[in-house]
Subunit: 192 residues, 6 copies
């Protein structure tokens, strides 16, 4: 079982509808491999399309949080949710975006006490408040984020990314989604 991509199987890139094949193909060309999440969601193209749209709307957005900060939210909440695929895959992207080979391991292992800048800490605290026990999320959590200087747009980004990966993490748990081997070393070794 350890060798399979997902409990629910995975499609090949060329089994996807045209738009998705092109879109995922472009990612594969850039990364050198097709991240398993796309092949594993491929048996439900409408869901994969909405997932990719939601992901891009939040993770590729130009204003507000930086790209590295967006990945910080993902790794922190995926760590709190014990989601192996997201920790390994987005840990890799965080290492690259933040140009820091150790940050992802710290944040994924212990998002509550990892040493961060004040702004990073405010981002992670807000994300954790919403990720872990959303029933007690309150105006106080927003106030703390504002006190640390986050704008309303940035607060939305943190909250919406946290929400998106609450979904993403659960899909990965449902599938027991296997991370691609390529992710483990990405961003760990200085480029020559």
């Amino acid at each position: 079982m350890a060798d399979q991509v997902s409990r629910f199987g995975a499609v090949d890139l060329d089994e996807l509808p045209d738009d998705l094949r092109e879109r995922i193909g472009a990612i594969a060309e850039k990364s050198g491999f097709v991240p398993n999440v796309f092949l594993a969601l491929g048996h439900r193209p409408a869901e994969l399309r909405a997932f990719a749209d939601y992901h891009d709307a939040l993770m590729e957005r130009d204003s507000g949080l930086s790209k590295a900060e967006r990945e910080l939210v993902v790794v922190a909440t995926s760590g709190a949710n014990h989601c192996t695929y997201c920790v390994v895959a987005h840990g890799a992207i965080l290492r690259i975006r933040a140009k820091d080979p150790h940050l992802a391991d710290h944040v994924a292992t212990n998002p509550w006490s990892a040493e961060l800048t004040e702004r990073q800490r405010a981002i992670v605290d807000l994300a954790l408040a919403l990720a872990v026990d959303p029933g007690v999320f309150s105006a106080d959590d927003l106030e703390a984020a504002r006190d640390a200087g986050l704008s309303e747009e940035e607060i939305w980004d943190v909250g919406a990314i946290t929400a998106l990966f609450a979904m993403s993490n659960r899909l990965a748990h449902l599938m027991a989604l296997r991370p691609n081997d390529e992710f483990y070393l990405m961003g760990r070794v200085p480029r020559g």
Copy 2:
């Protein structure tokens, strides 16, 4: 504050891009009102579009779980997540879809021990396992669902809807989203 739709404001229907205005307008025409979630997400059209697409892909799907069963998953997990908007709004839809004026109150108040048919119980148990503490979700949870007769497609539906509303619930908590007044009575009073 109690009168506002969302902590982050809400757009008017005619502020939305054309495709969304038509799409949400059609819902409003059918329901007699615009559910607040659409106006509250309207300040981020790309996110609203992906949200609506994901929602429709899962909640309007023809095969697999029945429409009432899909709402059962939503109400059970939203109850476990203490999400007032989703409990009130989808509780209304569940009452209508299941033609049962009491089921939603039972499932939302206590999804763990509400009295259900064996199939409904299996659906709710699987949903709760993934919703509440996803880190310990395991093959045993899937096995229990299969033992109760759920197909792989149905299991996917339960898991994916649970995941979608893990996101949805958190967006509603982020916004302190207010349910429309219309939802509270829907499906409670027998139609003449």
Copy 3:
């Protein structure tokens, strides 16, 4: 099983000892029906008598908290305890006492973040502190209540009602007590 009142059966009104039959009969006359809890506890008249005495001593008391505030404590803690009978039955009474058709649904679904007046929030916070994890209840919880203007008598009321329904909720869970159908609509529809 869904049609039974309690896992331990229920008596008829005229099976009760005289004092209880008259007392419960008076309630039935006023409400138009006999709340199931009385019939379900009827197999142990001494316990039912003490239960009714305790209930009346706290819920019918004239000074201190208002009647609506007393029901607020009940609905908030019963929501936190996921007690369907108490949420449905006392939700109905809260709607009537507070003349608010939506308050009970908000407080029962999420007592931690429901929007309330400052005084209501102080009452609910004190109640939740004692209801959910009493081992860490401390002088700080009392201090917060005093800071919000609650008197010692009012604080006692909140605490004692919370304690009474810690019992009540557990009796209802033990019995899987079914709410009477009449409760679901009470206070939801404006009277003509």
Copy 4:
């Protein structure tokens, strides 16, 4: 503060209404002291009367569970609720009723893994299931108790005593109720 009986004060025996003064007086005569709980609840005679009635209806009942088993339920759930007054006072009574100087310390410190007879374990497991997280209490908990040979009457006793002390423990936490010094040694030293 450590010397006071309760955060809300305590009455003297002769400040109580006649019926309560006689009733508590009889307990004092038998025990050699007035247990603090009665003086601390004395400022609300109607509540104290209902409390004493409920207590006697369950703890002095002749059929069903033995007296020692009733105290076992109290000590186990009070231990789980971290209630110092109830652990110290009812620990003393359990030592005497069970004629065992160590049982109470074991059950109060760790009700989950204390070594007990099979019947005692079934009683304690049922009590803990209802005491700690009542929202997930289910028919399975009752089934386990029946499998261990408990009758319906005995199951009711366990559940109702657990419920009563869910209340009692919370009242003691509210008051920071101080145990009488006499309780600490009762039943620990063999009588000459």
Copy 5:
């Protein structure tokens, strides 16, 4: 099973290697009995030796926390960990060291709300923060201890003793280690 010292058996004092036999023998001579933990760990002499060394390095240290304060940390964290052996054995030592027959019962039953001096409360709060949910331990916990006047050496003592008994408690749970009968009464009865 209730009569055995440990699930993994226990050695006799004279089965131990010379150094341990002398060392444990000296304790036995002083106490009048051999605490069961030493006989139960005796099947692994190297581990017993390291355990005794670690214990003495922290519990017999002359500077920093007083001996009674060291036992306070042990009883508080062992209570939070529901460890019967450590609560009974170190409860006895705490009674003697603090010359207080009731303190140990209060701290073991409810370390969170036991009434303590301000310094004792700071010690216990720091210990609980590290004992119960170490993943969220943070610089704020240290700051609170410093604000209450604890020195860096004293903070280390609290933390290191808490850590040692996180181990000790788990060894006792693994073995279901039985406390010696002698511990239960030690320090409870005033010496003539």
Copy 6:
């Protein structure tokens, strides 16, 4: 603060007493660096000595669990305890001992659902039962381990290593102990 080894400072190797300097020096010679834990505990030589003794008695033991299995226990429980130092340092050792570049990331991120052999799963389940909520550890946990074929000696090893790292993890949390940079890449890159 991010650059310091420990909140409580760190000694230099040559500040240690002779026996410890030689012992740690030998480790440094073999590894190519001095693991930070030794320098951080160096301000308390007696505690460091006992720590090293306990560690070696359990982690270098020849019989029972394999070396890789011992590290598996450490990584699983340190992951559950969110201990960054132990996850990074022992994750490295596990990669080397198990000759598997991915296992440690899986086990540390999610010890509950990482895919393992049946024997590894039994080891990790036993370790987690004792590590996370030791108060409910019971004979059933031991029985499950025996059913999976673990011997009494192996069960002791799992339990004792879990206990040792319950201590170790808390010391690292107390100190905010920084992992050496060398650990992050160890065992990730195939040796040429």
